[in-house]
């Protein structure tokens, strides 16, 4: 039932808006609204009950194991939320004077410094509001760098075929042509393909390391040399930073620019699809182009850096300074964990992934890169199962929902047929992983015994399989009163 269907004309929550109609009004008739606004008329309890019940139809980290590869679904500490929502932080207007926000700005400045250390970069700007915006800003800086040098022939960005879809989409938004390069049998970027693709037209290479295939690009130093010698820059997609936190710094791998998904590695909530935050870090030579505002600390006072301080900046990419409240949560998280806690993240994320990979292999699942270590995630392929039984990766994913587990990422990376990208994250216990393996074994048996039942999963969810084709063909994007 939709909230609109709970509506009764005249029902109102009198305590939540002015109790009497406003007395004064000075707006000409032709600018005044005449049509009614389609909002529900419900009591506070109606609304609370409705949205509480809706929430219960979601899987979430707080309720289920959520091994969604490439998304780092780790526990979101409640303290981070509670402390970021202290009333003074919530009440602070973004354009309020700097001296009324020294507490907030101190947190932002320290977060910048911490992220510099974590990434091995010379400068950090916190403003990007999501991974995709971090990428956009990163590639904009690459472009600004080449342009400032009068180097206008660089028209291409190289992207591995295993990359997130945002990588090529971002390159295009920055006016670049995308050159995709292939992956070798071991899951590394094909070095011959890279050498063939690189040239004077190369603006940069976008790379995730460990890659989306769940393996570390061993040849990264060589790749860095090849791209740099051709005059290109290296972009690090920080989606998988969780795997190497405190082990390897992207700056030391030769990367010139990086974005860090705080909603992954720094455990800010995913919120059912955002808000995220993806600060960008840069090496020395890209410092002049960082987006504003950033926070400076001078003579004991924190202040915003603006166009005057960073004249070559690529500019402003949000109305204020990005998702400030998300940044606060990340700051609290990193202070809770400290350096030692940051080191533990990559250790236990890697332990969990390799353990789960070992156990699933023993259970009879085919691992996409069996000779490799898992980073913090790994890929299972159902290619053989699909050919033999017709059961797909999506079927298995839906059957996992029935058993109380969120599905792994399916059909990504696209170069592995019938794949499940599995990322357990460091906050899950061995017991949870074991129970998941048991569920996976059960499904493997079900595929043999009753493949049609698996193909028509889910069976125990509030709804059965939904018709995506009909949704796109008979578009219904808003409710209409009967």
């Amino acid at each position: 039932m939709l909230i609109f269907e709970h509506s009764r004309p005249g029902r109102r929550n009198y305590s939540q808006s002015p109790t009497t109609p406003a007395e004064k009004q000075a707006i000409p008739q032709n600018l005044l609204r005449k049509s009614p606004v389609l909002l529900p008329e419900v009591s506070e309890m109606d609304a609370v009950r409705h949205y509480t019940r809706l929430s219960q139809k979601n899987f979430s980290i707080d309720t289920e194991f959520y091994p969604l590869g490439s998304c780092t679904m780790k526990y979101n500490p409640r303290a981070c939320n509670a402390l970021a929502m202290l009333p003074q932080f919530l009440a602070r207007h973004p354009l309020a004077p700097e001296d009324t926000g020294q507490g907030f700005l101190a947190c932002m400045y320290e977060l910048q410094e911490i992220l510099k250390d974590v990434t091995g970069m010379a400068g950090v700007s916190l403003t990007p509001m999501a991974g995709a915006q971090g990428e956009l800003i990163g590639v904009m800086m690459i472009r600004a760098y080449h342009e400032a040098r009068g180097d206008k022939k660089r028209t291409e960005i190289i992207v591995p075929d295993a990359a997130h879809g945002t990588n090529p989409a971002t390159a295009v938004m920055c006016g670049y042509k995308v050159v995709e390069i292939t992956t070798d049998k071991e899951g590394n970027v094909d070095m011959d393909a890279l050498k063939a693709a690189v040239g004077p037209q190369t603006a940069g290479l976008m790379l995730t390391n460990p890659s989306t295939l769940g393996v570390f690009e061993k040849n990264i130093s060589e790749m860095s040399r090849i791209v740099h010698e051709a005059g290109g820059l290296l972009y690090y997609d920080g989606a998988n930073l969780n795997a190497v936190l405190g082990k390897v710094k992207p700056g030391d791998m030769g990367f010139d620019v990086i974005h860090i998904n705080l909603h992954k590695t720094f455990s800010t909530p995913h919120g059912g699809g955002g808000p995220g935050a993806a600060p960008v870090g840069v090496a020395e030579r890209l410092l002049p182009y960082l987006p504003i505002p950033m926070v400076a600390h001078e003579k004991g006072v924190y202040r915003w850096l603006t166009e005057e301080d960073v004249p070559q900046t690529i500019g402003r990419l949000s109305a204020h300074m990005g998702n400030a409240g998300v940044l606060l949560r990340a700051y609290i998280y990193v202070r809770l964990l400290g350096a030692e806690g940051m080191n533990r993240i990559s250790q236990y994320a890697t332990l969990n992934a390799n353990y789960l990979m070992a156990e699933l292999r023993k259970a009879g699942f085919e691992i996409a890169y069996p000779t490799r270590r898992a980073s913090h995630e790994f890929i299972v392929t159902l290619k053989e199962i699909k050919e033999r039984t017709g059961v797909t990766a999506m079927n298995l994913a839906k059957r996992l929902l029935d058993k109380g587990y969120h599905a792994p990422t399916t059909y990504f990376p696209i170069l592995i047929p019938e794949c499940l990208l599995i990322e357990p994250a460091e906050t899950e216990s061995k017991q949870t992983l074991d129970a998941f393996v048991t569920a996976m074994k059960e499904i493997l048996q079900e595929i043999e015994d009753q493949p049609d039942m698996v193909k028509s999963a889910p069976h125990n969810m509030p709804l059965r399989k939904l018709d995506d084709v009909r949704a796109a063909r008979e578009l219904d994007l808003a409710w209409k009163p009967q």
Partner: protein, 453 residues
């Protein structure tokens, strides 16, 4: 170990299963010379009790003020239920609803949101959010260019939010899109439709129409919309969603209505929070839906013909289309939309209208009061919603400083954004300001301004 549940016994068993001697061995594919990750500048960890004290101290240092700053971020009362429900773990800690059967809560909520926003803006369809108002404008400009096909020129009036204009330029710069700024009438604080013709001689993809504009002034939206449509261009409305409880929605502007409506969703239940997270909204006419960026939720049925909701029109998006997507956007501001939907449900049509009307009435009250102070007068003659520019008889920075010393953030100095507008204050009132607050502002400002007579 904070947030890591492993016992020593667990670790031993896990390593045995893997066949590794230590956790460190699991990193043996990383070349040794790259293992330089030692974190020397990250401070040691804190307990929850310690970080709680630190954050309370920092929050207290920032304090509370009686705030009259608006300029794109507005202080409205947020019912307690909004964030209590929004931060339930099932909303807070779930991911983008790719697995529809396990995400019906978020998906249905987003469908309800799309319904509310389409109605509020008077448009046919809404997406499920963008990052913020400024980036929503940039996405609208890109969308208009895709739709128009023959022109890559966007007309933006100087009355549009200055930061939005900066963000727009920064984002479209690399795509050969020309942003042309059109002037406004300094006396009324509006765009004068009769002065637009020189800008319409060359083809353009879209005209941006802010309502209310950055000065709080109401534009002549009907005439502007019809003018742009006569030139075969699109109209992008940039609107404050709260104002739409009172003002003509973009879908009803002029003869045919605006084509795309975007704006900052923050007034709908999102706290000011130093600027974010907020959310951008975008609604458009049906024929533009396939050009729209961002997530879109559609209603469908399951195998038993029961109604349900899914992400739809995904063929526009980066994870399917990669380099040919309408935008690179994916995850954006889902949780903020959750709050906004609950906010709009709790307020209802009459509640929202009263909040808008009281915000407007308070502005009239405040301006009337402040204009009784010698030397204070409105900078523009146009009608306002809940924000207005005031000329002050003295140096604005000094005056704002003096107000702040008495616990009042008096507004925004316009000088930094419009050099011609020296000593001009942009003040905003919402329903949160009581008659006592308005009196206090008037009295304190009156005393401060005495020395500039």
């Amino acid at each position: 170990m904070p947030f890591i549940p492993h016992t020593e016994e667990d670790v031993e068993e896990m390593l045995a299963s893997i066949g590794a001697a230590s956790i460190e061995e699991l990193f043996d594919e990383i070349p040794p010379d790259l293992k330089t990750g030692n974190l020397s500048r990250v401070p040691p960890g804190m307990t929850e009790m310690e970080i709680t004290r630190l954050m309370h101290e920092r929050a207290q240092a920032d304090g509370f003020y009686l705030n009259f700053i608006g300029a794109g971020a507005y202080e409205h009362h947020i019912p307690a239920a909004v964030w209590q429900i929004t931060t339930r773990g099932e909303f807070y800690s779930s991911y983008t609803p790719y697995q529809a059967e396990a995400s019906q809560g978020t998906l249905q909520l987003l469908y309800e949101y799309q319904t509310m926003m389409a109605s509020l803006t008077g448009m046919d369809v809404s997406n499920a959010s963008l990052y913020d108002g400024a980036t929503a404008l940039a996405e609208a400009a890109l969308m208009a260019v895709r739709q128009h096909k023959t022109s890559r020129r966007i007309l933006v009036p100087g009355t549009a939010h200055p930061t939005y204009r900066k963000v727009l330029r920064a984002i479209v710069r690399n795509q050969d899109i020309e942003v042309v700024e059109i002037p406004f009438d300094p006396e009324s604080g509006q765009v004068i439709p009769e002065q637009l013709d020189p800008f319409g001689q060359e083809e353009f993809a879209a005209l941006v129409v802010p309502q209310p504009n950055f000065f709080g002034v109401l534009e002549q939206v009907d005439t502007l919309t019809d003018w742009a449509h006569k030139k075969n261009s699109l109209v992008i409305a940039v609107v404050n969603p709260m104002s739409l409880a009172m003002l003509t929605p973009p879908g009803e502007w002029g003869t045919k209505g605006a084509d795309i409506a975007v704006g900052e969703g923050q007034p709908l239940g999102i706290p000011l929070s130093s600027g974010g997270p907020y959310f951008g909204f975008m609604a458009c006419k049906q024929e533009l839906v396939r050009q729209m960026p961002g997530r879109i939720i559609g209603k469908t049925v399951d195998l038993d013909n029961k109604p349900g909701f899914v992400l739809t029109l995904q063929a526009r998006e980066q994870h399917i289309r990669r380099s040919k997507a309408t935008s690179n956007i994916c995850t954006n501001q889902g949780l903020m939309v959750t709050a906004a939907t609950i906010y709009m449900s709790l307020l209802g049509p009459e509640g929202l209208r009263r909040v808008a009307a009281q915000s407007h009435a308070n502005l009239l009250q405040l301006v009337e009061k402040l204009e009784t102070i010698p030397g204070v007068k409105r900078a523009h003659s146009g009608f306002c919603f809940h924000e207005a520019a005031l000329k002050l008889p003295g140096p604005i920075d000094e005056i704002l400083q003096a107000l702040k010393a008495q616990g009042i953030l008096g507004g925004l100095s316009l000088q930094d954004y419009y050099p011609a507008l020296s000593n001009t204050l942009l003040v905003c009132t919402t329903e949160t300001k009581t008659p006592v607050d308005l009196d206090k502002f008037g009295e304190v400002l009156g005393k401060i301004l005495k020395k500039y007579k």
